[in-house]
């Protein structure tokens, strides 16, 4: 219970924290070059290529379906 209350306090306090990167300082972060997955169709296809040939799956940021591979 105390831990839950502590988390609530920290998060509520955190919401009031002044952001150390101000909104007007985020122009670089908003630049398209900072979006590694700027073209979702092309990116999802490449995830599919990897998923179909590797055992590793998950945490790649795309929703997959079946695979047309053998």
């Amino acid at each position: 219970m105390r831990i839950a209350l502590l988390i609530v306090v920290i998060l509520q306090t955190g919401c009031a924290i002044k952001p150390w990167v101000k909104p007007y300082e985020r122009s670089r972060l908003a630049d398209p070059v900072m979006n590694a997955a700027g073209h979702p169709v092309a990116e999802n296809y490449m995830h599919h290529v990897h998923q179909a040939r590797e055992a590793m799956r998950g945490a790649e940021g795309s929703a997959g379906g079946g695979c047309g591979c053998n």
């Binding site: 919401c15 070059v33 590694a36 290529v49 079946g66 591979c69 053998n70």
Partner: protein
Amino acid sequence: MQLIRNPFLLMAVLLLGAEVQAAVLPEDRFDLLRHEYDGGGMEIAGPSVLVRKSFADKVAVSANYYVDEVSAASIDVVTSASPYSEKRTEKSVGVDYLHGKSIYSLSYGVSKENDFEANSAHFDLSQDFFGDLTTLRLGYSLGKDEVFRSGDNTFSDEADRQHFRIGLSQVLTRDLVASLGHELITDEGYLNNPYRSVRYLNSGGGYSFQPERYPRTRTSEATTLGLSYYLPWRAGLHGEYRVYSDSWGIDANSWQLKLIQPLGQRWTLESRYRRYEQGQADFYSDLFPFRDASNFLARDKELSDFESTVIGLGIGFQFNKENWETFDRAGLHLWVDRFQFDYNNFRDIRVQTTPGTEPLYSFDATVTRLLFTLWY
């Protein structure tokens, strides 16, 4: 206080509490992708079309249609079956709803082949915190596969899949963003490929085949750490490291570096290098010592010990026309990725020699993507 005892309710209160507008919906766009994969005896090509449109800056709907035309003569096919052709189509629809600093996303997809059908539903929630420097994402997916076997009307089976995702991205400086994601996936049901076989030594000194046999459950966890850095000359450098393990005994990891470099106002160059390594499943063997050598049997090279590398290059061009009334801009992108796969315990049995001494298998592949985009 009752609220605090329930962690899900507590999380819901924290996620829904803030009301300041900050999160934004994905862009309105139309994408037409032509994709091609050529390597290891497989040729797979087709289109993928995505349309996304938002309304009143509150709701965005999207639809995707994807096709794989497969012509298969891979090493698995030529050593134990006949080359074949097939078609896979995937259709999905989704809706995103923006509420304050939260985005709720729902999507549903169906993937069909002549011997396979997968249905899946996905729910994701994204929430900005701490002056929008932090974004938390939670997600859940539910899937159901139906598996059939061509030429065998008596066979059909099912598999159920569940995904649980959590992710955090954090603005660290005005040039650097970090992200951490974790996904747990559980499968239950028929997880084999119904056509694949394992080989085992027979009494004559040669080898014979028997069908693969996989466990009917699998649980996996993957964690990804990403960093994106804005380079001083206006370019984006993206690093990613992913680590994976599952209940079949497979451990894997990958890392990738990607550079996005604009050239002037219209051109963009992209390059990436990716390295992947995995260990084999507990029940994998290239050559079992005898028939039914263990409860579970696999000789699927995707479950073997191997490494792969990818080197990719891309070029993009953007059209901006001030007198376009319907569209903001358009773009054309071409990417070519070169894959190399090297297997450490999967042997090339097209070579006739003493079983177990055949050369290790390796192959390369080329993946080409051509994308036309309209933003409106």
